[in-house]
Amino acid sequence: MTQAIDDRVVLPPPSRLALASAVAFAACNLVLSIVFGDLYPFTITPMFCDSPRLYCQYQVLDPQGGQLPLGDFHLQRNYDGNPVGLGAGVRPSPSLDQFGTAPDEAAVRAHVADILNSRFPEFRYVDVVQTVIGPVDLKKIGVIKEARFRVNPDGN
Protein backbone atom coordinates (compact mmCIF):
# COMPACT_ATOMS: atom_id res chain seq x y z
CA MET A 1 0.00 0.00 0.00
CA THR A 2 1.44 3.34 -0.98
CA GLN A 3 0.08 6.82 -0.56
CA ALA A 4 1.02 9.63 -2.92
CA ILE A 5 2.01 12.93 -1.32
CA ASP A 6 2.90 15.59 -3.87
CA ASP A 7 5.55 13.94 -6.04
CA ARG A 8 6.77 11.63 -3.29
CA VAL A 9 5.67 8.18 -2.24
CA VAL A 10 5.26 6.92 1.30
CA LEU A 11 6.40 3.33 1.41
CA PRO A 12 5.11 0.68 3.79
CA PRO A 13 7.51 -0.14 6.63
CA PRO A 14 10.17 -2.69 5.64
CA SER A 15 9.48 -6.35 6.39
CA ARG A 16 11.28 -8.09 9.24
CA LEU A 17 13.21 -10.16 6.73
CA ALA A 18 14.48 -7.05 4.98
CA LEU A 19 15.46 -5.47 8.29
CA ALA A 20 17.18 -8.66 9.44
CA SER A 21 19.10 -8.84 6.13
CA ALA A 22 20.24 -5.25 6.49
CA VAL A 23 21.36 -5.79 10.10
CA ALA A 24 23.16 -9.05 9.22
CA PHE A 25 24.91 -7.37 6.29
CA ALA A 26 26.07 -4.45 8.44
CA ALA A 27 27.17 -6.80 11.24
CA CYS A 28 29.18 -8.99 8.84
CA ASN A 29 30.85 -5.89 7.40
CA LEU A 30 31.83 -4.79 10.87
CA VAL A 31 32.82 -8.07 12.55
CA LEU A 32 34.47 -9.94 9.66
CA SER A 33 36.45 -6.88 8.61
CA ILE A 34 37.78 -6.42 12.13
CA VAL A 35 38.62 -10.11 12.57
CA PHE A 36 40.11 -10.86 9.13
CA GLY A 37 41.06 -7.44 7.76
CA ASP A 38 40.03 -8.04 4.19
CA LEU A 39 37.73 -10.97 3.51
CA TYR A 40 35.96 -10.28 0.23
CA PRO A 41 33.20 -9.07 0.00
CA PHE A 42 33.97 -7.43 3.34
CA THR A 43 36.78 -4.92 3.66
CA ILE A 44 38.37 -2.46 6.04
CA THR A 45 39.22 -0.21 3.04
CA PRO A 46 42.89 -0.28 4.01
CA MET A 47 44.37 1.93 1.30
CA PHE A 48 47.32 3.91 2.69
CA CYS A 49 46.43 2.87 6.26
CA ASP A 50 50.17 2.46 6.89
CA SER A 51 50.69 6.13 5.87
CA PRO A 52 54.09 5.62 4.22
CA ARG A 53 56.47 8.59 4.36
CA LEU A 54 58.98 7.53 1.72
CA TYR A 55 59.68 4.90 -0.88
CA CYS A 56 62.49 3.62 -3.09
CA GLN A 57 62.81 3.17 -6.80
CA TYR A 58 65.43 0.77 -8.14
CA GLN A 59 67.23 0.20 -11.40
CA VAL A 60 69.54 -2.73 -12.04
CA LEU A 61 71.93 -2.44 -15.00
CA ASP A 62 74.05 -5.20 -16.53
CA PRO A 63 77.74 -4.60 -17.39
CA GLN A 64 76.69 -3.33 -20.86
CA GLY A 65 74.36 -0.79 -19.28
CA GLY A 66 71.16 -2.63 -20.20
CA GLN A 67 68.30 -2.50 -17.74
CA LEU A 68 67.49 -5.81 -16.07
CA PRO A 69 63.99 -6.78 -14.85
CA LEU A 70 63.57 -5.79 -11.18
CA GLY A 71 61.54 -8.93 -10.52
CA ASP A 72 64.61 -11.06 -11.33
CA PHE A 73 66.45 -9.34 -8.45
CA HIS A 74 63.47 -9.27 -6.08
CA LEU A 75 63.48 -5.48 -6.09
CA GLN A 76 60.06 -5.04 -7.71
CA ARG A 77 57.45 -2.88 -6.01
CA ASN A 78 54.59 -5.00 -4.68
CA TYR A 79 52.90 -2.10 -2.93
CA ASP A 80 49.89 -0.55 -4.66
CA GLY A 81 48.52 1.49 -1.77
CA ASN A 82 47.11 -1.53 0.07
CA PRO A 83 49.11 -3.52 2.63
CA VAL A 84 50.98 -6.10 0.54
CA GLY A 85 49.00 -9.30 0.11
CA LEU A 86 45.99 -8.21 2.17
CA GLY A 87 42.80 -9.61 0.63
CA ALA A 88 44.60 -11.40 -2.20
CA GLY A 89 44.60 -15.18 -2.45
CA VAL A 90 48.21 -15.40 -3.64
CA ARG A 91 51.15 -13.81 -1.85
CA PRO A 92 53.24 -11.60 -4.14
CA SER A 93 56.79 -12.73 -4.79
CA PRO A 94 59.21 -11.54 -2.10
CA SER A 95 60.99 -8.22 -2.58
CA LEU A 96 63.53 -6.16 -0.70
CA ASP A 97 61.40 -3.15 -1.60
CA GLN A 98 59.10 -2.36 1.32
CA PHE A 99 57.12 0.80 0.70
CA GLY A 100 57.76 3.19 3.59
CA THR A 101 61.32 2.07 4.22
CA ALA A 102 64.67 2.73 2.57
CA PRO A 103 67.24 -0.02 3.17
CA ASP A 104 70.83 1.16 3.45
CA GLU A 105 73.50 0.44 0.87
CA ALA A 106 74.93 -2.53 2.78
CA ALA A 107 71.52 -4.26 2.85
CA VAL A 108 70.97 -3.70 -0.88
CA ARG A 109 74.49 -4.93 -1.69
CA ALA A 110 74.05 -8.12 0.34
CA HIS A 111 70.64 -8.79 -1.23
CA VAL A 112 71.81 -8.24 -4.82
CA ALA A 113 75.02 -10.22 -4.28
CA ASP A 114 73.00 -13.20 -3.04
CA ILE A 115 70.92 -13.14 -6.20
CA LEU A 116 73.95 -12.65 -8.45
CA ASN A 117 75.54 -15.75 -6.92
CA SER A 118 72.45 -17.91 -7.03
CA ARG A 119 70.83 -16.86 -10.33
CA PHE A 120 73.22 -14.85 -12.49
CA PRO A 121 76.73 -16.26 -12.20
CA GLU A 122 77.42 -15.01 -15.76
CA PHE A 123 77.47 -11.37 -14.58
CA ARG A 124 80.78 -10.09 -13.19
CA TYR A 125 78.85 -7.25 -11.59
CA VAL A 126 75.68 -5.20 -11.87
CA ASP A 127 75.12 -1.52 -11.20
CA VAL A 128 72.27 -0.68 -8.86
CA VAL A 129 70.60 2.73 -8.72
CA GLN A 130 68.55 3.39 -5.61
CA THR A 131 66.40 6.52 -5.62
CA VAL A 132 64.66 7.46 -2.38
CA ILE A 133 61.55 9.62 -2.71
CA GLY A 134 60.11 11.32 0.34
CA PRO A 135 59.31 14.67 1.94
CA VAL A 136 61.64 17.40 0.68
CA ASP A 137 60.09 19.90 3.06
CA LEU A 138 56.74 20.32 4.77
CA LYS A 139 54.90 20.90 1.49
CA LYS A 140 56.73 18.93 -1.18
CA ILE A 141 57.84 15.42 -1.90
CA GLY A 142 60.66 14.57 -4.25
CA VAL A 143 63.99 12.80 -4.56
CA ILE A 144 65.78 13.00 -1.23
CA LYS A 145 68.63 10.64 -2.06
CA GLU A 146 70.04 8.92 -5.12
CA ALA A 147 72.82 6.37 -4.89
CA ARG A 148 74.50 4.32 -7.60
CA PHE A 149 76.80 1.48 -6.66
CA ARG A 150 78.46 -1.48 -8.35
CA VAL A 151 77.77 -4.86 -6.80
CA ASN A 152 80.10 -7.82 -7.36
CA PRO A 153 79.13 -11.40 -6.54
CA ASP A 154 81.18 -11.15 -3.34
CA GLY A 155 79.02 -8.21 -2.22
CA ASN A 156 81.66 -5.52 -2.67
Binding site: D7, V10, S21, N29, L39, T43, N82, G87, G89, P92
Partner: protein, 126 residues
Protein backbone atom coordinates in the same frame (compact mmCIF):
# COMPACT_ATOMS: atom_id res chain seq x y z
CA UNK B 1 4.14 21.93 9.76
CA UNK B 2 5.60 19.21 11.98
CA UNK B 3 3.47 16.61 10.21
CA UNK B 4 4.79 17.73 6.83
CA UNK B 5 8.33 17.51 8.16
CA UNK B 6 7.79 13.96 9.42
CA UNK B 7 6.21 12.95 6.12
CA UNK B 8 9.19 14.38 4.32
CA UNK B 9 11.56 12.35 6.46
CA UNK B 10 9.69 9.07 6.07
CA UNK B 11 8.80 9.36 2.39
CA UNK B 12 10.87 8.22 -0.54
CA UNK B 13 11.58 10.14 -3.70
CA UNK B 14 10.94 8.60 -7.09
CA UNK B 15 13.40 5.78 -7.76
CA UNK B 16 15.17 7.44 -10.69
CA UNK B 17 18.51 7.84 -8.92
CA UNK B 18 18.43 4.31 -7.54
CA UNK B 19 17.56 2.89 -10.95
CA UNK B 20 20.35 4.84 -12.60
CA UNK B 21 22.81 3.61 -9.96
CA UNK B 22 21.72 0.00 -10.49
CA UNK B 23 22.16 0.29 -14.27
CA UNK B 24 25.55 2.00 -13.92
CA UNK B 25 26.89 -0.56 -11.46
CA UNK B 26 25.52 -3.49 -13.45
CA UNK B 27 27.16 -2.18 -16.61
CA UNK B 28 30.40 -1.75 -14.66
CA UNK B 29 30.06 -5.31 -13.32
CA UNK B 30 29.44 -6.76 -16.77
CA UNK B 31 31.90 -4.72 -18.82
CA UNK B 32 34.85 -4.65 -16.42
CA UNK B 33 34.79 -8.26 -15.29
CA UNK B 34 37.90 -10.20 -16.30
CA UNK B 35 37.43 -12.55 -19.23
CA UNK B 36 39.78 -15.15 -17.75
CA UNK B 37 40.90 -16.33 -14.37
CA UNK B 38 44.26 -14.74 -13.40
CA UNK B 39 47.07 -17.17 -12.64
CA UNK B 40 49.40 -15.43 -10.17
CA UNK B 41 52.10 -17.73 -8.85
CA UNK B 42 53.11 -17.89 -5.23
CA UNK B 43 52.16 -19.19 -1.83
CA UNK B 44 48.49 -19.22 -0.92
CA UNK B 45 47.31 -16.43 1.36
CA UNK B 46 44.27 -17.41 3.41
CA UNK B 47 41.66 -16.41 4.20
CA UNK B 48 41.27 -13.85 1.43
CA UNK B 49 37.62 -14.29 0.51
CA UNK B 50 34.56 -16.05 1.82
CA UNK B 51 35.43 -18.90 -0.58
CA UNK B 52 38.88 -19.53 0.91
CA UNK B 53 37.65 -22.69 2.65
CA UNK B 54 36.98 -24.40 -0.72
CA UNK B 55 39.44 -26.91 -2.18
CA UNK B 56 42.21 -25.63 -4.45
CA UNK B 57 40.75 -27.47 -7.47
CA UNK B 58 37.56 -25.42 -7.26
CA UNK B 59 39.28 -22.10 -6.55
CA UNK B 60 41.55 -22.47 -9.58
CA UNK B 61 39.03 -24.05 -11.93
CA UNK B 62 38.44 -21.99 -15.12
CA UNK B 63 35.25 -24.00 -15.64
CA UNK B 64 33.76 -22.84 -12.33
CA UNK B 65 34.87 -19.27 -13.05
CA UNK B 66 33.28 -19.19 -16.51
CA UNK B 67 30.07 -20.81 -15.23
CA UNK B 68 29.58 -18.05 -12.65
CA UNK B 69 30.72 -15.37 -15.09
CA UNK B 70 28.04 -16.40 -17.58
CA UNK B 71 25.49 -16.64 -14.79
CA UNK B 72 26.43 -13.05 -13.90
CA UNK B 73 25.97 -11.93 -17.51
CA UNK B 74 22.53 -13.52 -17.83
CA UNK B 75 21.28 -12.40 -14.40
CA UNK B 76 22.73 -8.91 -14.91
CA UNK B 77 20.94 -8.44 -18.23
CA UNK B 78 17.67 -9.70 -16.70
CA UNK B 79 18.08 -7.25 -13.80
CA UNK B 80 18.80 -4.36 -16.18
CA UNK B 81 15.61 -5.24 -18.09
CA UNK B 82 13.73 -5.72 -14.78
CA UNK B 83 12.75 -9.26 -15.69
CA UNK B 84 12.21 -12.00 -13.07
CA UNK B 85 12.79 -9.65 -10.13
CA UNK B 86 13.75 -10.19 -7.33
CA UNK B 87 15.21 -13.56 -8.37
CA UNK B 88 17.41 -12.08 -11.11
CA UNK B 89 18.81 -9.40 -8.77
CA UNK B 90 19.76 -11.89 -6.05
CA UNK B 91 21.25 -14.35 -8.54
CA UNK B 92 23.24 -11.45 -10.03
CA UNK B 93 24.61 -10.44 -6.60
CA UNK B 94 25.47 -14.07 -5.84
CA UNK B 95 27.19 -14.61 -9.21
CA UNK B 96 29.09 -11.32 -8.95
CA UNK B 97 30.31 -12.17 -5.44
CA UNK B 98 31.51 -15.63 -6.49
CA UNK B 99 33.11 -14.46 -9.74
CA UNK B 100 35.08 -11.66 -8.08
CA UNK B 101 36.03 -13.94 -5.17
CA UNK B 102 37.51 -16.45 -7.65
CA UNK B 103 39.48 -13.66 -9.32
CA UNK B 104 40.81 -12.49 -5.93
CA UNK B 105 41.69 -16.05 -4.90
CA UNK B 106 44.01 -16.25 -7.91
CA UNK B 107 45.50 -12.73 -7.72
CA UNK B 108 48.39 -11.24 -5.79
CA UNK B 109 46.90 -7.73 -5.98
CA UNK B 110 43.25 -6.69 -5.71
CA UNK B 111 41.02 -3.69 -6.41
CA UNK B 112 38.60 -2.43 -3.81
CA UNK B 113 36.27 -1.05 -6.48
CA UNK B 114 34.83 -4.57 -6.65
CA UNK B 115 33.97 -4.48 -2.94
CA UNK B 116 32.12 -1.21 -3.44
CA UNK B 117 30.22 -2.50 -6.48
CA UNK B 118 29.28 -5.61 -4.52
CA UNK B 119 27.91 -3.57 -1.62
CA UNK B 120 25.90 -1.31 -3.95
CA UNK B 121 24.43 -4.30 -5.78
CA UNK B 122 23.60 -6.05 -2.49
CA UNK B 123 21.87 -2.98 -1.08
CA UNK B 124 19.79 -2.50 -4.22
CA UNK B 125 18.89 -6.18 -4.38
CA UNK B 126 17.55 -5.87 -0.83
Amino acid sequence: METDFRRELTSSSKPHVGQFVVWAVLLHALLFMRADLPCAEGLRNTPATVLSFLPEEILTSPLVFHAFRWLLVVAGILWILQVLLPLSSWVCVFAYTITVALVFENSSHIEHTKHLANIVLFVHAM
